[in-house]
Symmetry: C2
Subunit: 431 residues, 2 copies
């Protein structure tokens, strides 16, 4: 199957950061050609499908490296509250009532929101009905990394039950749906997983060739308590426990110090930066530029709607680009191009995905298109596209979303998920 999309402005986010007017040839789900200008007649003739891009911008699909889609119905359920009060009065009591129907509906809602806002790939860490989620994700045709989140503060038999469930998820779904679903291991956090449990997780990761995703140093308090309890900081501790012997991505890393950043860099540990969630919960602001200086690969994530309250990576791009300039009082602290790469190329690397991220020949055809005929994107020319994507575009400008060459959204219409029904069912939750 060959598809051509012509008359588009292509933002490759490859090593040359190329932006040009041209066309894309997609062959069997992969990017076959990315060329300037108009396609010749014989190229058009060889295509089963020719799409007129009508001057839209075409760029890599965005990659959301941290979230919990099963809890999407808690959007706006409790804001502006102290963290512990929020957990105790909002999150935990609500999550206790979640049955399979609720989690499935919530996950569907999250996928609608993500596709509509230009996300092609996401990581989900959750503890409920992950096998059902895997099926739902496959039906949506999104690319996803799924992890059965494990809180280890429980008796050993419960720990083992969770771990076996997580490994079973890998056995059943790693490489599922033509490789679009992969599975990683996800112990929740150092403060919710005792050292012996983390060692067991590493053992299983090595045995099953799984990588590990874990929350680390989200709040100052959790780091302090860790030092009090173990006499060592969380990142140092994780290294001691052997976690970094397998590929690893930590979420947040708001309160990592210089030495911990060096450990992350030395061990090629990836970081999922979730600026909006960290701000909203009052956790703080992760040292993005210091991580960059150490050579750490930092990706972007939204966290869940319970603490963000959107799954919109265009918003996350904007916050990531702006807050560090402000806090450091340095407008050169971030650039549009560097931030775009966090949400694409760096995201792919962090999720251990080798052939998505940048738009280059041979990569999977995971991309999105935006309609630039908007006041807030005017005026524009080639030299302003990257800037507009980071500082001016809204996710509502996204019109088309492709994963593996397959359209998940065409001109704003979802192709596999029933948007109206999913929104209706979500609202039934509160009525």
């Amino acid at each position: 199957m060959v598809t051509i999309i012509h008359s588009v402005t292509i933002v490759t986010l490859d090593e040359n950061d190329s932006v040009f007017d041209g066309y894309v040839v997609i062959k069997d789900g992969e990017l076959d050609k990315l060329k300037e200008g108009k396609p010749a007649e014989q190229i058009l003739d060889a295509a089963e499908e020719v799409i007129d891009g009508k001057g839209k911008w075409l760029l890599p699909g965005l990659i959301n490296t941290h979230g919990h889609i099963g809890s999407s119905f808690l959007r706006g359920a409790g804001d502006d509250m102290p963290l512990l009060e929020w957990l105790q009065t909002v999150m935990w009591p609500n999550e206790k009532t979640f049955d399979e129907d609720i989690v499935r509906s919530a996950a569907s809602l999250a996928m609608v929101e993500m596709i509509k806002s230009g996300t092609t790939t996401f990581l989900d860490m959750y503890h409920l009905y992950m096998d059902k989620i895997a099926e739902l994700v496959a039906e949506s045709h999104m690319r996803a990394v799924l992890c059965r989140g494990m809180i280890g503060n429980c008796p050993p038999d419960e720990q083992m039950e969770k771990l076996l469930e997580a490994v079973q998820l890998h056995k059943n779904f790693h490489g599922y749906n033509n490789g679009k679903v992969t599975v990683a291991l996800s112990p929740h956090a150092p403060y919710t997983c005792p050292p012996e449990f983390l060692e067991k997780v590493v053992e299983q990761a090595l045995l099953n060739q799984m990588w590990i995703h874990i929350h680390v140093a989200e709040t100052k308090e959790e780091v302090l308590r860790h030092e009090q309890q173990y006499g060592i900081r969380p990142v140092e501790h994780l290294q001691q426990l052997g976690l970094f012997r397998v590929p690893c991505m930590i979420a947040h890393g708001v309160h990592v110090n210089e030495e911990e950043m060096q450990i992350l860099a030395d061990n090629h540990v990836y970081v999922s930066h979730n600026p909006k969630s960290n701000l909203k919960l009052g956790s703080g602001i992760a040292p993005l530029t210091a991580m960059w200086e150490k050579g750490i690969n930092v990706a972007l994530g939204t966290d869940s709607t319970a603490s963000n309250n959107t799954l919109d990576l265009f918003e996350e791009l904007r916050f990531a680009a702006l807050i560090h300039k402000g806090v450091l009082e340095d407008p050169t602290a971030t650039t549009a191009s560097a931030v775009l790469k966090m949400a694409t190329v760096a995201g792919a690397k962090a999720l251990q995905l080798n052939s998505t991220g940048a738009l280059v020949k041979g990569n999977q055809a995971d991309f999105i298109m935006l309609n630039p005929k908007k006041a807030h994107l005017s005026p524009w020319n080639i030299s302003r596209v990257a800037s507009h994507l980071v500082y001016a575009a809204k996710s509502s400008d996204v019109t088309d979303v492709f994963v593996q060459g397959r359209p998940l959204m065409k001109n704003g219409e979802l192709q596999y998920l029933d948007e109206e029904k999913i929104i209706f069912e979500a609202n039934m939750y509160l009525h």
Copy 2:
């Protein structure tokens, strides 16, 4: 003329922060009734126009208290650069080439963006063709405060020319277009206006009953230089010069200290908080919560597209709500309701407008409507509306915009501005 809009969820932002399902009666441009439930037959019969709100959210129009619409074409012209380099290589050389056509087109583009993103009222401080802008604004039927921005670092005759132009603008346009256009005086900043000039401005303000808008303490450096030059900090200096003898709103106030905040509070000086612009230029983060503690009325503004890069108050709401929680590591630092009031009630006060802001009987019918049937606004009920407006809504959810009871946008279609033509003309600027 009586219009009824029924089947809406009304967010009044009045003193009781009421949110309820009901209807609005608009009579001759004013809010006549805001009631729960369905309107009775005799009420419907008395209306010339009945609009089915179809479950939309109806709230006060947003108020943008600081901007420069004439420079809108510089969106994305230079980002991620040190401030001085940006001014010297991007802003100043470009602005020198602006003719009347460019400024008119740029202002039109800005108004399209503002109406589409739910802004009903804005302040514009600019130095070029303000009389032409006043006519354009009247044609758009937006509510606006216009100020001829004055840089006072020039010979006395030039200073006087600018000041006379500013006063003339007031004579010609204050109260124009059925009161929707008003005019204030706007010396640019303490660092660009010598003390003697500021005294002349105060004189004219008193003489003509005009209020004053001025940039203050945007950057740390400008405050340091002010102290070096005058031996006093800018806010103290402005007080000495008599500026606060007239109603006053300062823009930014990023680097005001405790004493200066006390002066602002004691003199009922309003502050226009522009978080995104301050972040993007690396200026820093204004002490919003400290200002609130002093009792200062803080409003919201976008600044221009050259430093934001949007004129989208929904984005500004989100940044204002989130960054202070993050910087202070306190999720209770801001609340959705307090931030919504900055963009409405506080904005109206700061712009010396007595009858807009909250939705209460007798106020001008300046309001907007949003379509909540979106994944990112689901699930929702009455108790989550304020949260969703601040933490989840996008300006693209705005479908209808009314000023003085007149629709400027209906179901996404602008009624007075030719969106397509204005976007086309904006893009001609770069081609």
